[in-house]
Symmetry: C2
Subunit: 328 residues, 2 copies
């Protein structure tokens, strides 16, 4: 084996921990350090032998890190961090604000080009693997329709929105695909589906003692953008039940391309994920992408990239001959 | 739109006709001509305005064809044709003899390099899209198991094998995945499955009048390599029933990657195809790959390539910015 690919992790929440764990499954990589905006001594990782540094230490370690994986959030962290660090590091991020991807790409592209680096953005599963499946489906079946269903899984954003309601102690929200809608797509009906027809929302809420449950339920169900357009179920449970039954962060979903070839011949492509842990899976994608980024960098390429731009073989530990023999 | 990509089709069976039809769905391409080893006047295509030439006319049309799609068979046609034509044309083939892919790749690589061309081999769905899904699954979930199930669909090779039996007029063989095995994989059991446990084989046979049906059934069920290792059902039907109920060439299947991240978290990736026409779908993949090959050629790349080597964006009619905006 060649020299190992040296990885830095910036940010240590669920995603950062997922990257830490994924790196253990990839023997051609090694983790150099964690970087955090918190007090490093307050961060307890799963890898006591790997140092935790403050974010200020990053730039000085430029030559010791081949790829920096950014594990911050898409709302405020990545729009700032990705272009900033792409000037000095090959980076990988999981920027997932779909409508802002074009501007994020442009900002990262300019930064990466100015520093002679590769900035890989929007890794993960949606955007990420789901996007790739949408692209492939569109290319193979130009006459067809796309369908993406999410779930069953925990939406962090919707859970947070519920927690902000007066009288709520804690909450977990599941996005659930409507089985009947999925069945109609699979049957080749090419239905036109409204937001309400595609997904339902299930909420598990821990309320403060004495809180007005009817008012909380009403506030959830009528919340614009988050719940108003969906059929929403609200279940009040105890804190113990929430911890016992809803501790995980599962997710998943379905991407379908329903198309027609020739003289009306039906063709159906379906891709689905059933993820025990959303952040661990996302992290696993980021780590594979980091390998590809390292190799693109070695070739002297610069600028922003997405999953659409990566020759898939670059994601693998194996060389081309082994891949053709074993997997083609 | 730029100049159209000019495509030649060599061979006009089910796959050639599929390519002819797929090109009609891809407005950035145009078909220049058909080439055949038969008497051109005996070939009736679906496109009367596109000329049919003998294969001898090919070389002289070198400068009028951007990509030549080879639609012959993998047993005897492609091992000869692909390296031969890769010296003078960018080619795309659907070579599907898995065990011989490495040597086919090497032969095409040498030929393509000698002529400064790109030779894309083994396009289609298996090898092809299924291979890509196996690769992605392995890269994202290094700790896991691969499963590929085929069907329900028509196996041309197995149908042909039955037709060669004395007393058989015609036959169609379906490969059928065992639902229970698929269910166990989806449940995360990671079962070890024998050949017999993964697929069954259903045969529909038209026998000659007075033929010994018991002997035919016995010969099918005990045929080494083709049927002996499977639970096989043999149904004798009339020629009319075969034409009425078994005229299509459907196929499909499933690729699953069952993996584990972190501390035993289960993650499942599933890709499936339900194809009304196997050759039309395969042809649609080849056409998308031809676009990528054309672009690689424009970049000055040379040599053999597979689906593992293609940046997915090159498969699309759309440019990078549109893809990021619409599909990422």
């Amino acid at each position: 084996m060649n020299e190992k690919i040296r990885i830095g992790i910036l940010g240590y929440g669920n995603l950062g921990r997922g990257v830490e764990l994924a790196l253990r499954q990839n023997p051609d990589m090694e983790q150099v350090a964690f970087f955090t905006r918190r007090d490093p001594s307050s961060v307890n990782t799963l890898s006591p032998s790997i140092p935790v540094y403050g974010v200020d230490a990053l730039l000085a370690m430029k030559d010791e890190i081949d790829v920096l994986i950014l594990c911050g959030g898409s709302a405020t962290d990545l729009p700032k961090q990705s272009p900033e660090y792409a000037k000095n590091f090959h980076i990988v991020d999981s920027f997932d604000n779909h409508s802002k991807i074009p501007e994020h790409f442009d900002a990262c592209d300019a930064a990466a080009k100015s520093g002679g680096k590769i900035a890989f953005i929007s890794g993960g599963w949606d955007p990420g693997m789901f996007s790739l499946q949408r692209l492939l489906g569109n290319c193979i079946l130009p006459q067809g329709k796309d369908y993406t269903f999410w779930g069953k899984g925990v939406s962090q954003g919707h859970s947070d929105a519920i927690r902000r309601i007066e009288g709520v102690l804690d909450a977990k929200q599941y996005t659930v695909p409507v089985e009947d809608a999925l069945a109609r797509v699979r049957a080749g009906e090419d239905p036109v589906l409204s937001t309400r027809e595609k997904h339902t929302r299930e909420c598990f809420v821990v309320a403060k003692e004495g809180a007005d449950l009817a008012r909380i339920e009403q506030e959830i169900k009528t919340m614009p953008a988050y719940f108003a357009d969906y059929d929403t179920t609200v279940n009040f449970i105890t804190k113990e039940e929430l911890l016992r039954d809803h501790a995980g962060i599962p997710h998943g979903g379905f991407v379908l391309r329903s198309g027609v070839t020739g003289d009306g011949t039906r063709q159906m492509i379906e891709y689905s994920l059933k993820l025990g842990s959303n952040p661990e899976f996302t992290a696993s994608v980021l780590v594979a992408c980091a390998r590809a980024v390292y190799r693109l960098g070695k070739r002297g390429e610069v600028g922003a990239r997405t999953i659409f731009d990566l020759p898939p073989a670059l994601l693998s530990m194996k060389d081309g001959a082994a891949l053709r023999k074993e997997l083609l």
